[in-house]
Symmetry: C2
Subunit: 357 residues, 2 copies
């Protein structure tokens, strides 16, 4: 028995439409470049049963990990045929007879990973979903589980930070970087960011400071900066690295005694180089963070509910916005994938597939 | 009032000798190569007063950190003029009137660091010393506070190891390496060691296995070894690095998920290189360890007494021996320093200055 008696009684036409929902999905049956292996495929979905939920996907971002998964370069391997995509925000269309905590019309995001989200509709299990207030914008809700949660956990789980403490990061304009600035602003933490020099550096600095960055410096500027020497800003106890190579070494150089450098990405494809002296004499530690593992290990943990509550609270109050992005229709995924990637790798442009129309 | 009334009453001659103890010490007044800056100097010592203790040094090792301190390359800087050396075992000659826990004739080792120990006699404070049973050999007692304690803490403080777990290390023939094998044997832990290839490799492997190493492999052998694949030995949860560079990377490659590489030295003078993938997806961590800091931070901690008790227990029972070494008279320190160092750095030869005669 589906819980849609009201809809059923009001509109037999709507009911029969539910019975024949056709999902348009970006699917792949082998690893390769997204432009080559993804096909837009139509599938008729069966009605949600038991604890299942039929969801209309409204928006789903293109994350670097999604591209790597399609390429077969990510540790998570899908079962073929697979629908691409990992994050989304969707609207509940109808629920199976045993679903108690979700109802038609609610917005939902994924609690589980690798659900296959680059699609117009999907049937998921209720325990794979979390309801989210409609006061949270679609772009914010669609992108919350990876980047803001990564920033949140990295700020919470390695060092006990207090207001007035400092965090430093490279790739400070990345999606995680933008989330770090906003969380630091909310929590009274100094957020120092390092970015590569570029023609529009002044605009980038301004944009990141608007998000809450205390200071944004280029790689050249940080090398000669006295920002931590003047006592204006405390030496960082925590650093984030998504670049690797020399950039990681440079970031770690600014850490205070017992500081921790957390690596969550390696955009330069160069390893992290750790001088022996600071490891031994400054007790600097080098760690890694992978949101997917954390989410699996803490699926139903109270820390996870608390995290979503806090981030959604900030989003509802306009204190946390989605990373700079462009919305593109599902059909234009090839253009988006091409713009997200070039011969060197990721360009840093963020796209969100828009299935809300 | 000195507590030597018995000696005084028995022997006025002895008493007057105490009053004019002349220490021969290796002293330096500027940083440089040990052969150049160390001078054998005689100083008359005044009687121990209050909580002071007059000690006759019996043996004091030459550690790499001692050489680096003399060279000015170590983070600990002495006040000039300085007596070189950090470790020793000595015999209490007489104690000041407020000393309660030490008495004449006892063997003692340093609790404090940087006491200046390359000398025949010294006056220390009682709280800088720890009494040690005479059942502990002089070489063992003289070298306990740096290398065995480093091995002990690195095995205890980073991962909770259980019998049957595995530890891997490079520089497996170093003084710390030898201590690791012996502690692992005592605690039922598999100790896998990596050493550089050399003409006398068979003898070296045999010697290290006699100390408790489960397996010793050369750098070439470990690359093709299936030791962790056959299930014969569990994958290591803990690794120790005193080399750096490619050797450190190779060691870290064998770590199990959530494993930790602890760096305590950098003999190759190359930094530690950390691949991004294992940091993120295997949750490998890179830490450092410095015994000097630990000892300062845990000067009177119960963990420290417990550590000494356990190591001395093993030493008394012949289950823990000093690293392979050569005893040399204080006067021959230049020969020893030259043999401990060559143009590339440390040769790995261990010398203990012998002042027991």
């Amino acid at each position: 028995m589906l819980r849609r008696s009201r809809i059923q009684s009001l509109s037999p036409a709507l009911w029969s439409r539910h019975m024949s929902v056709v999902a348009k999905s970006l699917k792949y049956t082998e690893h390769g470049e997204p432009q080559d292996v993804l096909k837009l495929v139509e599938d008729e979905l069966s009605d949600p049963k038991g604890k299942q939920v039929l969801v209309k996907i409204l928006a789903a971002p293109i994350n670097p990990a999604d591209i790597n998964t399609i390429q077969g370069k990510y540790p998570v391997k899908p079962k073929f045929p697979a629908v691409a995509g990992n994050e989304f925000v969707g609207e509940v269309i109808c629920v199976g007879e045993n679903v108690k905590d979700l109802k038609e019309g609610q917005h939902v995001i994924p609690l589980a990973t690798g659900l296959g989200t680059w699609t117009t509709h999907a049937v998921y299990n209720a325990d794979q979903l979390l309801a989210v207030s409609k006061k949270v914008g679609l772009a914010e809700a669609a992108t919350v589980t990876v980047n803001p949660c990564t920033a949140y956990r990295m700020l919470k789980d390695f060092v006990h930070l207090c207001p007035g403490d400092t965090v430093i990061q490279n790739g400070a304009n990345s999606a995680v970087g933008q989330a770090v600035h906003q969380l630091c602003r909310a929590w009274g933490i100094n957020s120092i960011g390092i970015v590569r020099d570029r023609p529009e550096i002044a605009e980038l600095k301004e944009m990141l400071k608007c998000l809450g960055a205390t200071e944004i410096l280029t790689e050249a500027e940080i090398r000669t900066s006295d920002i931590f020497k003047t006592g204006k800003v405390k030496k960082p106890r925590l650093a984030f690295n998504c670049v690797g190579g020399k950039s990681a070494t440079e970031v770690s150089r600014h850490l205070d005694h017992k500081g921790i450098l957390v690596t969550y990405g390696g955009m330069s494809r160069e390893p992290v180089t750790v001088a022996t002296g600071p490891l031994i004499f400054k007790d600097i530690a080098f760690r890694g963070f992978w949101m997917t593992r954390w989410s699996k290990e803490n699926y139903n943990a109270p820390e996870r509910s608390e995290m979503f509550k806090e981030i959604f609270g900030l989003m509802e109050n306009g204190k946390f916005v989605a990373p700079a992005h462009e919305m593109v229709p599902l059909e234009k995924f090839k253009d988006a994938a091409a713009a997200a990637l070039n011969f060197k790798g990721f360009t840093g442009k963020k796209f969100i597939l828009d299935m809300s129309k």
